[in-house]
Amino acid sequence: MGYLRHYLSFYLPRLILSSFLICILSGIFLTIHYRPFGDVFRCVEEITTVIPYGFFFRRLHYITGQLFVILALIHIGDHFLRRTYRRYRFRDWLSLIASIYIAFAIIFMGFVLKGDKEGIFAGNIMLNIIKGIPLIGNSISDIFIREGEDFFWLPFLYHCFILPLFLIIFTRRHIHNWLPNRGFFLYVTLFLSTFAVFFKMPMDIPPDAVVPTVKGPWFFLAIQKCLTKIPPLFAGIGIPISFFILISLISLSKGHLEWFIRYTILIFAIVYGIITILEYR
């Protein structure tokens, strides 16, 4: 157990940062050929099937992006169980929780940018959930995504520039101790690159294909399920925000309140995880 804990605390943050760096690098390669206008699906398919080694950069980008958020979740879970949030100042804890939300937003926007049926539908769902916010929804949705020819433009800006910039700003103080050394980074890059060569990516669905069900990204599946039962404002905005508030408040709470918040978060996470697994199958 002690060994595992040591392994988690030493290697995990370095692995997370290595994945993040490789993700950024592979993303830079992809942006050279990616165009967020016109027939985006065709452009993505061209990168994957026509442009030499395009498939490799796309897979590497996909794998490292997923690895980054999954490992970051394990990292947070580990610290949550060890109650290390008690050591953080509220402000610092808040920016770390905000960063994981930003990381998910980046992956979500990336999912939209695939330009296939799932991507377009995910974009539409996001747009309509935001539009459903009373009074301001219609206006603020325009800041994130717009219908028509510019559909992919704002997600592209958020995915490639705005959100990564915020992610770096929010985590800068947290990560500077954990930057991997060159040797470690090189080995991880080599390993993940080899893995990317053999990895099979989920299939893209052409925008005009008729399919009986369309699913969002894996971390959105539980919310997608809730959307079938409860109003979009609660499922799409209420749930993520309540979880954010709960997990942020835990660093301020003490005694019984801490115990209560802690178990609410745990139950919430377990239920969310189970729905996600059931929906993923």
Binding site: N124, N128, S139, D142, G148, V211, P212, T228
Partner: protein, 132 residues
């Protein structure tokens, strides 16, 4: 009122005013958007069936009349599929179902599919008008 309190209040008010002055152009800039009207044209060859689909629009024939429905589900905007056997529209995202006239039959959507205006052209085309 003490002088220092008075000055402080003036300072706070001035700061708020300044923020509004700066925020207003930023928000107006971010929220500007041109309303676009999109025309989807159906040539006679593109409407041979009873239910015809093009660019997010369903053009449907009932007796000798035509009507058009937006294919965007009124729940959260996914494009609905038409099932010829049951003559219903099914949404692949969260399972809403609409009948051929666009009326909601089941699922989380609570409005019917949106009816869109049509224009009949002299050359035989039917143009459906929708807003982006």
């Amino acid at each position: 009122m003490k002088r220092s309190v008075f000055l402080k209040t003036i300072f706070v008010l001035a700061t708020i005013l300044l923020c509004i002055i700066f925020l207003y152009p930023i928000i107006s800039y971010l929220l500007y958007r041109e309303q676009k009207i999109v025309k989807v044209s159906f040539h006679p060859n593109e409407r041979l069936g009873k239910v015809n689909f093009k660019k997010g629009v369903y053009l449907i024939k009932s007796n000798h009349n035509w009507y058009a429905l937006s294919a965007h589900c009124t729940h959260l905007g996914c494009i609905v599929n038409f099932d010829e056997k049951t003559e219903k529209f099914h949404c692949p995202c969260h399972g809403s179902v609409f009948d051929i006239s666009g009326k909601r039959v089941a699922g989380p959507a609570n409005r019917p599919l949106t009816r869109l205006p049509l224009r009949f052209m002299k050359n035989g085309d039917i143009i459906v008008i929708k807003r982006d």
